[in-house]
């Protein structure tokens, strides 16, 4: 106990200051700061995630009672040839798209890297397709390349490039080629922008030093630009691979999975099981498998990139 004396001389008893209440502690303040984000993540990500896992363990009708049937929804995936084919197709699409998209985006970024008159126009022009919604872009290509009313065939015929209509989605290879063209048109500008930020972060002095040491353009590109651009390329690769593995809009709208199921992606099978076959439990199981595979792949990518850095 402490005794203190007031100015009027009267002594009063005082106690040592009480510890701050819980909500004033540093930890509590941290929780409060994190609460809005935690709430959003909890409601919009964690709760649906838990629900989807629970759905995957049940036979889940559109209306009515769910019935626990684990692990049926998972074991029957092996008997779903459409999904197994879709896995192979999606991986093939991912590899081709990622490689082509990276090359085109890097080429565009190098083209518009240096400041010169009119460069803003080209940067804007290359980026502009990225402002079109992806579903709209798929519908646009559907119209442009349609053999019955699309303008591309007549233009090519007028120019003497083709004699007969090109069946842009008529064969598996053409359907894949047309879709990849659409994806590159839509995303090359966006990826160019990512790479451009990486390119502009490389100090000019490094290039000047290389030039004064007698390095030619190829040597500067392979020994300076690419190594210093690696973290940016890594980010682009993660975005491209994840986006390609989750491909849906372009195939659903543009090719409708055809011809003959040759362009069915994994997410299309999930959508089909849920909304055409009304097998919500089965679709949830496919989603969980896809999620686990994506998380594992991203973890692997991050590990490889960290090691190489």
């Amino acid at each position: 106990m402490t005794v203190i004396t007031r100015r009027d001389g009267q002594a009063v008893r005082a106690t040592s200051p009480a510890p701050p209440s819980w909500w004033r502690t540093r930890g509590a303040q941290g929780w409060l700061y994190a609460a809005p984000t935690a709430l959003i993540v909890g409601v919009l990500f964690l709760a649906p995630l838990v629900l989807i896992v629970w759905m995957s363990l049940n036979r889940w009708p559109l209306l009515g009672q769910a019935h626990f049937n684990a692990p049926d929804n998972y074991t029957k995936i092996a008997d779903n040839p459409l999904f197994l084919d879709a896995v192979g197709f999606t991986l093939k699409y991912t590899v081709i798209t990622t490689v082509l998209l990276s090359v085109v985006a890097l080429g565009l970024a190098l083209l518009v890297q240096e400041r010169r008159p009119g460069i803003g126009f080209f940067r804007t022009a290359f980026f502009l397709p990225g402002a079109v919604g992806f579903a709209s872009a798929a519908l646009l290509f559907y119209g442009l390349l349609n053999n019955d009313f699309g303008p591309i065939d007549p233009i090519l015929r007028t120019l003497g490039i083709i004699d007969e209509p090109v069946k842009w989605t008529g064969t598996p290879n053409m359907a894949l080629f047309s879709t990849i063209t659409l994806v590159i048109w839509r995303f090359a500008g966006f990826n160019m922008l990512i790479l451009l930020t990486g390119l502009q972060a490389i100090p000019v002095e490094v290039y000047e030093a290389a030039r004064s040491d007698g390095a030619n353009r190829l040597q500067i590109f392979t020994r300076i630009t690419l190594p210093l651009l690696r973290p940016t390329i890594a980010l682009m690769l993660i975005l491209s691979i994840t986006g390609s593995l989750l491909a849906f809009d372009q195939f659903f709208i543009f090719t409708n999975g055809g011809p003959d199921n040759s362009t069915v992606s994994m997410v299309m099978v999930v959508y089909r099981d849920a909304f055409f076959r009304f097998d919500l439990g089965g679709a949830a199981a496919l989603s969980v498998v896809l999620l686990v595979a994506l998380v594992a792949l991203n973890a692997l990518q991050m590990r490889v990139l960290r090691r190489s850095n």
């Binding site: 709760a47 559109l62 019955d148 009313f149 008529g170 003959d260 299309m268 055409f276």
Partner: protein, 432 residues
Amino acid sequence: MNPRSPRRRRAGAILVGLLAIASVAACGGADPQPADSAASAAPAEGVTVTMWTRAATQAQSERLVAAYNKGHKNQVKMTVIPTDNYQPRIAAAAGAKQLPDIFASDVIFVPNYTSQGLFLDITDRINALPFKDKLAPSHMKLGTLDGRQYTLPHTLDLSVWFWNKDLYSKAGLDPEKGPTTLKEFAEQATTVDEKLGQDGKVSGTFFGGNCGGCYVFTFWPSVWASGGQVMNPEGTTSLNDQPAMTNVFNIYKDLYAKGITGATAKEEQGPTWTGFFPKGGIGVMPMPSTTLGLMPKDMKVGVAPIAGPDGGESTFVGGDSVGISSTTENADAAWEFLSWSVSDEAQVEVMAKNKDVLARTDLSDNKYSAEDPRVVLINSLVAKGQTPYALRFGQTYNDPQGPWLRLAREAVFGDPGKVAQLNTDITKSLQQ
């Protein structure tokens, strides 16, 4: 680290909470096949009920709703959804218990929706209708489950052959004489193509070659007309590898191989397959009867029943059925619209007046039908046609990734030797 640290305990508590939410969501569903508990109550007035319909039958639905809203205190607010998107929208809405009060459905999907408990049981209300036995039988059959009835016929859309009389005249064919067999159909299409198709602007015929629903709608009537079947009555075994079906495939395969069909028939996914005939570039082709009223005024169109290779007549009695959703709180107001839509007034003054096929067999002879013998012919086909029943119809036959489209495309454009194997895939899908 201590396995029971406060941080872990908190995380565990959050997880348990989320699981509890999920469990509540899982157990909170309505009972399937809900009974109609308010069948005898008088409908409330001034109620606005919501209704969904698909774009394919939009025109008919809009006319019915407009006429109803004009003369009733209760109102119907209709939303039209793109046909290809309709099934997913219904499924998503049902899962979220956000179905409209009334929704129409392609009649072939009705058994599945009924078995999922999406429609309200309206057996007692239907039994009270004085004309209940005159409602389109194929639609009523597909809306019945275990003796209980869930839907009424909404619109009827029959597959028939349309031929372009002007092109027939130019090709030297009798413009008043359409095909009476599938073989004649092929001959007439070939004549039109050979005589008028040199510049690529006219083709003998056309069909949706990359569209499962188009195949069943336009090819199956030829099977039925020749006495064959495409499935067993229970809709669990496919008969699409039988000669009745393969003979039809072979005729179309021959037409495509000879270039008699439009150049893009193989790629046609469905959205535009009916758009070629009204442009005047097709000689003869199967078409939905609902498009008759949409033909250009100056176009002379002949209508014939779809026939088998050697004759017979049949049609796919398609279109929509309509029911009250099981989650509605406005069942009486919804029924007021539904019962009015099959009344004499709606059927004659709205449907017949616009050359649509009627949902009631007792009204086919009315003051409007006599004006156009083509409409009389189409109405007469309702009794001769079929609507196939299968619980798994959509995922088997309409789904672009379903097994039927693969079989049909192999049969018409690819290797017919694969049909037998692919037919077992169809049966497997029907039995899932």
